[in-house]
Symmetry: C2
Subunit: 344 residues, 2 copies
């Protein structure tokens, strides 16, 4: 029986979630795993992922050797948010002719934010007949692909706004800490300066993807500094207590301009005690569109789905660096994964 | 300056709305018009469409002559909801190597409901290097493409439901009459029997398109008979008064089954006095998705947009009979239409 030979590149927090899902997936065969972490190298995947069934695949820190030996149809890449960090990794994968789907936020639409690297990756991928996609729930879907999809019912568009509000109390503790929940205002500012709080990566890429799909030439993109969401009443999660006047989390806003007109606004909010969790998209145009997903799509759960569901699309696509807007309409791959693939 | 040479095939109610929009559209040049109606043939488009500016293009009932002479890049086709009616028209267009975007509801996904005709059309289109797409707001987007798009955030799916509720009082009078607003229960039943009320065309195609995107093999699709929505209190539009116990409009439900499990439900409702107008999509799965567009997207306005916005996608696509799910993510074409097209 044919299967999709899959190598995991990165089995950290997000990579492990994806890996656990793919292990249950019919039609997917995990044939290799790559990670640099010394506490993982040499151990088998069942140990590293905490799986009950025995898995003979061991984690290697030698990407070239793993890829040469396993010849995967797809590499599921989850190591870093930043394109400069992942560029050498992607290049090494692609040189083996393997397709890549990656969680790297800056890879979701690098054509505007990193045109040189994007061009080099595209050329390299084409040369080796491989396809590269960066995706996830955000960037990758909620604030770009879904926005673009909804514009298709519009005759004219004046302004687009997408807002994501997450109640961080429902998320894992590392996420709550990453957004600065429970810090004083001063501690929050210091954390920003020390870059221990970095905000959400991908807003610039999402704006660029929307603008490109609409053939809108933007004059500038502003990504505002991360602000603390200051608690107006005491709120708490299981692990963190936020007093009045402390930070409950963060908010980050990015804007795309044509001339002086603010035509795209993305508003990302994640804090403990949000009264409603939602993902909303508003398009001012003909017609006006008011769309809302309630509650918001869970980030980890949705990213695992987006990555897994993109595997057949990436394998079916023509070689090169692609983005969600260039691929066919995204869709779930709930059945045997092989059913979604043409020839491979 | 390059333009997209466009022929209108059908300038009835919907065709005229699309034509009026395309006349304002930068990059689109209307080079011909075809219609069989004797009161239109021979008249210029400014007269037929009620445009202020003079348009030298006259309506012809000779499709072959018009297409030979004008050599269009795209034919905007809007004549009938039924594939059997439009098949000869589509064949005649495609034989001239022209691409087609059509409002024909049954053309939105004919592979399951009319596999023979679909195969013939696909072969003919490929032979003549033309692309054919059936689309619109519904079928074409709200109850199929958008549903498919939202499934991409899901790891598993148990059941999908899409509901569209239209307050017919806000729509044009012919639409209010078409849905049987103001009829007694007996008159409504008679109208169904005489087929003067036919219900919504496309629910079966939308279910097939969703199932195909998910690689779900359905055991059957049930399209329920059209039911009257009986007014529980007196309601009215500008032109029609509906008393208690009379029909305010119609409701039609269609279901897709795997075994005995109802996995896809589409629920279409259009009646005078609907308390809320919306388009909603609910996916029971991991994660559960509750999405809502409020108010619902206006049918005519949205269909004009979907048809116009699909023109570049169709011109850019590989030859053959295509469906929305096979094309890249849909998007608005708000700028000069030529900007969205590769080589043509």
């Amino acid at each position: 029986m044919k299967t999709i030979r899959t190598v995991l590149f990165g089995v950290g927090a997000m990579g492990s979630l994806i890996a656990r899902f793919l292990f249950q997936k019919e039609g997917v065969e995990i044939v290799g795993a790559i990670d640099a972490a010394q506490d993982k190298v040499g151990r088998t995947l069942d140990e590293v992922l905490g799986l009950k069934q025995r898995v003979e695949v061991a984690v290697s820190n030698d990407a070239d050797a793993t890829l040469s030996k396993t010849k995967p149809n797809i590499v599921v890449h989850a190591t870093s948010s930043h394109l400069e960090d992942v560029y050498p990794q992607l290049a090494s994968i692609v040189k083996h002719g393997a397709n890549v789907v990656s969680t790297c936020e800056e890879l979701s639409y690098p054509c505007s934010s990193a045109p040189q690297l994007a061009k080099k990756l595209d050329a390299l991928a084409k040369k080796h007949h491989a396809t590269i996609l960066g995706t996830g729930i955000n960037p990758g879907f909620l604030m770009d692909t879904l926005v673009i999809t909804l514009t298709s019912v519009c005759q004219t568009i004046d302004r687009i706004q997408a807002t994501r509000v997450i109640d961080a109390a429902t998320r894992r503790l590392p996420f709550q800490k990453k957004i600065g929940a429970g810090l004083s205002e001063r501690e929050f500012r210091e954390a920003i300066e020390k870059k221990s709080i970095t905000g959400h990566v991908g807003l610039e890429q999402s704006i660029s993807m929307i603008a490109s799909a609409l053939a809108w030439k933007l004059d500038r993109i502003e990504v505002n500094v991360v602000e603390a969401v200051i608690a107006k009443k005491a709120v708490r999660s299981e692990a963190i207590k936020v007093e009045v006047g402390e930070s409950a989390g963060l908010r980050q806003v990015a804007k795309g301009f044509r001339g002086n007109k603010n035509v795209i606004i993305l508003d990302f909010q994640a804090y403990i005690g949000a009264e409603e969790e939602f993902d909303s998209i508003t398009i001012a145009g003909v017609p006006c569109i008011n769309q809302k997903i309630t509650p918001c799509v869970h980030g980890d759960v949705g990213t695992v789905a987006m990555i897994a569901n993109s595997i057949p699309k990436v394998i079916n696509a023509a070689p090169g660096l692609v983005s969600m807007k260039d691929l066919p309409v995204p869709s779930a791959a709930t059945e045997d994964m092989v059913k979604y693939i043409g020839e491979f």
